[in-house]
Structure formats: C-alpha cells, structure tokens
Symmetry: C2
Subunit: 110 residues, 2 copies
DNA sequence: TTAATTTATTAGACATTTCTAATATTGCTT
DNA sequence: AAGCAATATTAGAAATGTCTAATAAATTAA
C-alpha cells in the first residue's frame, strides 16, 4: 500500500482547499516585513495611522496601504474617532499566533 | 508626550530589524498555498518527494522547487536514502506554530 | 468658508514570485 | 555500461506585489 493510499484511508485532521487558500492569504498578509513590524509594534495596543507611521517609518500612503491589506484579511480592525483611525489586532487568537511566531523566529527574546 | 516617545521609553519586548526580516522570510515561505499544503500533509511525518507530489498534486519540478524554498528557510529538513529524499518539519516549535495557524484560520476543525 | 490635519485612493514604474518545459544529476538495477 | 527511477536545476514568460507621487476625501479649527 502506497503512502498516498495510507493517507486517504486515515480520516485524520484534514484541511480543505478553501481553508488552505484562506489561511495562505492571511499568512501572506502577515509575512511582509513592514506589515510584520506593524503587528509587532501594535501588540495588544491600539494606535492611530500617524502613530504607526512614526513608529514603523515609511510614508503615510505606504502605511495606509499596508494597513488596508491587514484589515482586508481580518487581521486588524479599525475604529474611527473624529478624523483619526485607530488600528488594533482583531482577536486574541491572532495575538497568540504572533507571540508564537516570536517564539519560533526570535528565540533569544521570549 | 507622543505615543512614539512613550514607546521609546518602554524597553518592552522589542524585535530587531534583522529578526523582522528573517521572520518575514520564513513566514512568507509558509504562506504559499502549495507550500502550506505541503506542511499540512507532512504534519509530524516524513515523506519522499514523490509521495508529496502524489499527495499535493502538481508537477515534480514544481514540488521540488517549493521543497527547496522551505528547506532553505529551515522549515523543512531533508534526509537522503538511496536515490530518494525524505522531507519533514524541522523542529517541534514549527509544528506547534502550524497547529496554531490551524486553530486561527481553520477554527472549525481543531 | 478657508485652511490645516488625517487618512485613503489611484496610476504606473519597478521588482519579485510562480509555473512550465526541458534538461541535468544521482543512485540503483540488470 | 546502459537503462531506469527519483530528484534537482535552469531559463524565461506570465502573474503578482510593492513603492512613489499625486490627489481625493473627511473632519476639525480658525
């Protein structure tokens, strides 16, 4: 019996094609250096776009585009207050995932 | 005091630019749908290239290139036996990260 | 209303990624 | 050695992603 047949018979924790596509879009969104830096500086806090521009360091237009990508994938949520927009990490699980990424890729500072 | 100044004073868990670059390269490697699928089907097991071709479903050349990218980032390790090469997930932490990705992005099957 | 501030959008040049097809390499078998 | 099986490499076309510069839109302040 080939490996493929073995696997087909196991009904083990199987991930659908749609799940793979959706997950890969979200993970890709997190994988850009500027976007990863945005997620790191946000942590569990909430910052305005201008704050993020100052903390991360590129143009306002560029930050706005990156924030849009992260928001589109549901990784960030936006709250508008007067003429400012505040961004933060959408949910607790995503925060946990970010902390685990830090454990895996930055093992020196955990 | 601006938000930026606040943050500069806190010496909170800070991630260096090099760490960000390195992490983003690894996360980007995991974010391609075929590569994510490879990681999912591997799980904690070890498979030959031809097994992975059959399980994931694209050309041998394409799979080999994707495996090379994952190996280059240290996400997969390769073991050669005769004229076959067996790939598996490099370490326990990466496996934990993959499981957490599944929790976050495939919450229906955990 | 006019000006200033904050954020978002658009277009386009440039860079990177991805896939396919062809071929090379390595080890085994006869 | 010759043929076969398994894997890796290469080149190039096509697709996708990224940044910059300019501008639009929304809100506040004067």
């Amino acid at each position: 019996m080939s490996v493929v047949e073995q696997k087909t018979n196991e009904s083990a924790s199987h991930v659908s094609a749609e799940d793979i596509e959706k997950a890969s879009r979200s993970i890709k969104a997190m994988s850009h250096p500027l976007r990863l830096k945005i997620l790191c500086v946000l942590g569990k806090d909430e910052f305005s776009v201008q704050d993020i521009v100052d903390l991360v360091g590129t143009s306002q237009s560029n930050i706005s585009q990156h924030l849009g990508i992260l928001k589109d994938k549901g990784i960030l949520v936006a709250r508008k207050d007067a003429n400012k927009v505040f961004y933060s990490v959408g949910d607790e699980k995503t925060l946990k995932l970010l902390n685990m990424m830090r454990e895996v890729f930055c093992p020196q500072n955990i």
